[in-house]
């Protein structure tokens, strides 16, 4: 599965689709700052879609635009094939969202907060108790929201999204501030929802977290799409046969392995070997010359390395932040690459 530069294609119905989405903010005294620049984003129906990017890359702004909270300067957006924001009221019942930190009335109880939201969409009050139980907050339902820990607030926000029994759930950095148990819990919730046929769009800058749950991802930086596709394709396209080999005499070993036509790179006592058909061929070649490895580790490509490769040199994601004083490579419309396409300066 690959993407094109402007129109990622999944070959099926889409839960979310944007084309040429642009949003700028006026910063007093600093002119206009571009938050999202010509973003083409497709989220296929069903499964978990990771929306990845450095802090400030435009993820939250994009989500806010999808939810009608922020008005785009230009571009189009569709949710379940309904143009938004024009037809957002027709489709909002199918969308549950947590944007950044959950925001509820601090002096109201968790239950009262949800009862109000349920009332707004005509959901019966008994559903509130069901969703509170679903997220494990039944015992604390009558406590004031302001007394909740961050993890409980996140769970309450998840409960709020479940009130609608939505087809699309949007979680914006849902594990921010959570402890490991909370993170695992949220991950489990997202996976479980996807297995129930829901579409989950989760934005995050924590790659390992997304890699464990996402079926597809979109990677953005400075408001532009860099890559998009299935996680397996994204990782597979960058799969290498690199192996890290630790042994007593790396220099001699490099000679042996290079003679076999494999590429080697020395890194202290470690050799990184590329091109060998399989790790056992390396041990065999070295053993034949009386050299024995103390450690042999196939190098695994993960989402983090893909992400770093794609966003290399792009700072924290905003066009306002240019560590190189503005001389560096700036993402441009059309920069999004098909997964597996050659990249410049990649950490392959």
């Amino acid at each position: 599965m690959t993407t094109t530069s402007t129109a990622p294609t999944y070959g099926g119905p889409l839960a979310v689709s944007t084309r040429g989405l642009r949003k700028t903010y006026l910063r007093p005294g600093r002119g206009r700052s571009v938050a999202v620049e010509g973003l083409d984003l497709d989220v296929p129906l069903g499964g978990v879609h990771g929306f990845l990017g450095p802090n400030g890359s435009g993820k939250t702004t994009t989500i806010r635009m999808l939810l009608g909270l922020v008005r785009p300067d230009s571009g189009t957006m569709r949710l379940f094939d309904h143009e938004v924001p024009a037809r957002l009221p027709d489709v909002i019942g199918r969308v549950g969202a947590i944007v950044e930190q959950p925001r509820f009335f601090p002096t109201f109880s968790a239950r009262e907060n949800l009862v109000l939201l349920a009332g707004a969409i005509g959901v019966p009050e008994r559903t509130v108790d069901v969703v509170l139980a679903d997220v494990g907050l039944a015992d604390r339902a009558r406590d004031r929201y302001r007394t909740y820990s961050l993890g409980m607030k996140q769970r309450l926000a998840v409960a709020a999204t479940l009130l609608k029994d939505p087809d699309l759930l949007i979680f914006d950095e849902p594990t921010n501030g959570l402890d490991p148990a909370g993170i695992r819990e949220v991950r489990g919730t997202m996976r479980a929802l996807a297995e129930r046929g829901k579409t989950v769009l989760v934005s995050s800058h924590i790659l390992a977290e997304v890699e464990q749950v996402a079926d597809t991802v979109s990677i953005i930086a400075r408001g532009r799409l860099l890559a998009s596709g299935r996680v397996s394709d994204l990782l597979g396209s960058r799969a290498t046969s690199s192996v890290r080999v630790r042994l007593a005499d790396p220099a001699s070993a490099a000679g042996v392995l290079t003679a076999r036509g494999w590429r080697t790179t020395a890194d202290g006592e470690v050799l990184v070997v590329e091109g060998a058909p399989a790790p056992e061929h390396i041990t065999q070649a070295l053993a034949e010359r009386g050299m024995y490895v103390s450690e042999l580790l196939p190098v695994r490509v993960d989402l983090e390395s893909v992400f770093l490769e794609l966003t290399a040199g792009q700072g924290p994601g905003t066009s306002a932040w240019r560590p190189d004083g503005g001389k560096g490579r700036r993402a441009r419309r059309g920069d999004a690459r098909p997964v597996g396409a050659p990249t410049e300066g990649g950490a392959r």
Binding site: R64, L88, I92, R103, F105, T107, L117, A120
Partner: protein
């Protein structure tokens, strides 16, 4: 829309802050009634005897020095008339009169309307504060964003909050007015000083009550609109205080002609079925000295009502337009 309104009314009922403000308004009404207690109590026989004694002392003094006092008065009046021909020192009315010493007993018929009108500013403030807090708390906590992900049509959301605020301020307003009106009557009734409170008196009092209910509605509308514009209750209070200092205070002093456009004058005109404000008009006298006169101007109830309504409509329209296009955090 009606579903949103029901939910908003439920939220209004559950806000502790609003209960506190409503309680404060009713407490002010109770204090107002309490202040009437001293007016309602008729003088005791001992006080009447003392007043009679003061009168007799004054009368004796008058009989001894009255002619001399009148002559002095006329002399000073004649001197004053050289610059102000129309001046009248009242030299013919210097003789002591018993009724001036005994004083007149205030009755509910005389002062009931005044009691109710005293509630104007507390009602306007409380209603505005409740409405501003109702919306401002939601905007400043960020929960408006959460709300809009459930109810994305912003104009109906605005109208539901406006409707809830208006309906929400009515019960405490009506209760406070009932306390002021009924409590005032009760205080005078206890002391037997209700006076001639017939249908005409009650009609005027109840009409004033009704006009103050309208004041509460206008204040709530303005409170909601300002809270949507500045997104924080404290900021709304800042705007109100700023307006009071700059427009009602400084500007009105510098340019007295703006008085009929100020909130205070128009509120008073509406609540009291017309009011007056004064300006100083100066001219040069016959001796070249500058003479200033206090000139009274009338502002009608209609003028006050129309201006308040226009202000509420304009601020509301601006607020709705801003909410429609504003990014919500």
């Amino acid at each position: 829309m009606s579903r949103l309104l029901r939910v908003e009314l439920r939220r209004f009922r559950h806000r502790i802050t609003l209960w506190l403000v409503a309680g404060g308004l009713v407490a002010v009404a109770v204090l107002t009634v309490g202040s009437a207690w001293s007016w309602a109590v008729p003088p005791t026989d001992e006080e009447l005897a003392q007043r009679q004694q003061f009168y007799e002392q004054s009368l004796a003094d008058w009989e001894e020095h009255g002619e001399e006092m009148v002559a002095d008065c006329r002399e000073q009046e004649a001197a004053a008339r050289t610059t102000q021909p129309d001046v009248d020192f009242g030299c013919d009315m210097m003789a002591p009169r018993l009724e001036d010493y005994l004083g007149s007993q205030l009755t509910f018929a005389d002062s009931g309307l005044g009691l109710v009108e005293q509630m104007m500013l507390p009602i306007a403030f409380a209603a505005g504060l409740m409405a501003a807090s109702f919306v401002g708390a939601e905007a400043s906590s960020g929960s408006l964003g959460t709300w809009l992900t459930f109810a994305p049509r912003r104009v109906p959301v605005y109208l539901s909050k406006l409707g809830a605020a208006v309906l929400g301020v009515l019960p405490p307003t009506v209760l406070a007015l009932a306390v002021a009106t009924g409590g005032g009557w009760a205080v005078f009734a206890v002391h037997g000083t209700v006076g001639d409170a017939g249908a005409e008196v009650w009609t005027r009092i109840l009409q004033a009550d009704g006009r103050l209910v309208v004041v509460a509605v206008v204040a709530a509308v303005l409170g909601v609109a300002l809270a949507f514009l500045v997104r924080h209750t404290a900021a709304v209070l800042g705007v109100v205080v700023g307006w009071a200092v700059v427009v009602e205070g400084l500007l009105r002093n510098l340019v007295p002609a703006v008085a009929p456009m100020t909130a205070q004058v128009n509120l008073a005109a509406w609540a009291s079925a017309g009011t007056e404000y004064g300006t100083t008009e100066c001219r040069t006298g016959v001796d070249g000295m500058q003479v200033c006169d206090w000139v009274s101007h009338e502002v009608s109830m209609t003028h006050g009502g129309l201006l308040l309504a226009a202000a509420a409509v304009v601020v509301t329209v601006v607020s709705v337009l801003v909410l429609r296009v504003r990014d919500v955090s």
